[in-house]
């Protein structure tokens, strides 16, 4: 306690010294009660022998750690002392360095290591996020299907014999300039323009297109004639739009293009068109089957 009085009397403790002083005081308070006062005075005296502030601070921090160890080792010694009044509590103190202490120290080490890793990871993530180029929006492909059949090309090839080929190559204009004293030289004043050539149009290939229809195995219309419509003697024709791929299968639901006037017959026509998927004859272009949409007329007619 003497040293504390000296320090406080001198009044020379600056902020940095106050920290070391506080650490020593804090460490001594955490020490066992019978050792606290002694350790505080001893540590203050030993700390005073150190010259630099950093050394004193390190010493004070070490004392904090020493307090933890001493307090840990002191507890079983006191217990042993109370259990055996004649025995030496100091001897039991030496046995207290068990594995619990090491596991506690290891836990502290792991905790500090984890904190370091966390800080570095956060720092690294922040740096990469700040300096990384902005992400562009992901490209989402969209598929656009052309449901309209290509228009029939009716252009006829031009008659090449009637085309007048005109090749116009203008004559360059040259002007002669005569030098009075020197030899005569020829000066090109205007550059000739490139010749204008009318080239004949290239003949366009005519695609031979054969529209599709019902193919082999297409369902029979009579099988789809509704019994109710037969009993009501309803007859009529329904025009259905169908879109067929090269394999003769529908690639979209058939729709009514022109109704028969009877809902039952129109529904039956749609069912027929749907059931015929896979049995359509695809449209061909130059003999190659292509996808196309065309109209199918379904006629429901009663038989005598």
């Amino acid at each position: 306690m003497t040293s504390r009085k000296l320090d406080s009397d001198s009044g020379t403790l600056n902020g940095r010294e106050r920290l070391s002083d506080w650490l020593i005081r804090h460490a001594a308070r955490k020490a066992p009660a019978d050792l606290g006062e002694r350790l505080e005075e001893e540590w203050r005296a030993d700390m005073a022998s150190r010259s630099s502030y950093v050394s004193r601070l390190r010493f004070a921090i070490g004392c904090c750690w020493a307090t933890q160890v001493i307090a840990f080792e002191h507890q079983p010694a006191r217990a042993a002392a109370t259990a055996s009044s004649g025995g030496s509590a100091l001897l039991a103190l030496s046995e207290s360095h068990d594995m619990r202490f090491y596991s506690r120290r290891s836990s502290s080490f792991v905790l500090v290591l984890a904190l370091h890793i966390g800080v570095f990871y956060a720092l690294f993530s922040w740096v990469t996020r700040v300096h990384a180029p902005p992400m562009s929006a992901p490209l989402v492909p969209t598929f656009i299907r052309d449901d309209h059949p290509p228009e029939k090309f009716n252009a006829t090839p031009p008659d090449l014999t009637q085309i007048n080929h005109r090749f116009f190559v203008p004559e360059p204009e040259w002007k002669s300039a005569t030098n009075e004293d020197g030899p005569t030289s020829t000066v090109k004043e205007d550059l000739p323009q490139p010749p204008i050539i009318d080239t004949p149009p290239t003949p366009t290939h005519v695609v031979k297109r054969v529209m599709g229809g019902t193919g082999v195995g297409f369902p029979n219309v009579d099988d789809f004639y509704p019994g109710k419509e037969i009993r009501l003697a309803h007859q009529g024709a329904t025009v259905v739009n169908v879109c067929v791929n090269p394999n003769g299968k529908l690639y979209s639901k058939p729709t009514i293009a022109e109704g028969s006037g009877f809902g039952g017959l129109d529904d039956a026509a749609l069912s027929l068109a749907q059931s015929g998927s896979g049995h359509y004859r695809a449209t061909t272009e130059d003999g190659q089957p292509v996808s196309s949409c065309y109209q199918l007329k379904v006629r429901f007619q009663l038989k005598n």
Partner: protein, 101 residues
């Protein structure tokens, strides 16, 4: 380390502390003196001193000075006991190191 020698767990740092005292067994050393000789951090040094004192290898007493006249606080001085000297010599003997007896 971690070798047990009777009452005291002998670690490398404990050996260094004992070695500092064995240089002159009759000399009294404070914690600061031991630190200067062994360069052991305070967090390790003081538990060792207290442990050896508790085991009877050391005795300690306050420095006999007047702090106000000396201008510094009194120190806690440690000294090897006869038991401590004997046991420390045995320890170092087991390590095949020549020590003062």
């Amino acid at each position: 380390m971690g070798k047990k020698d009777g009452d005291v767990r002998i670690s490398l740092q404990t050996l260094r502390v004992l070695e500092a005292f064995l240089e002159n067994p009759s000399e009294q050393l404070s914690g600061a003196d031991v630190h200067q000789r062994c360069a052991i951090a305070s967090g390790t040094l003081y538990p060792i001193l207290l442990r050896l004192e508790s085991a009877g290898w050391f005795v300690s007493q306050w420095e006999a000075i007047d702090p106000s006249s000396a201008g510094r606080p009194r120190r806690r001085l440690y000294r090897l006991t006869s038991t401590g000297l004997k046991r420390a010599s045995e320890v170092f003997g087991s390590f095949n190191r020549g020590v003062l007896a």
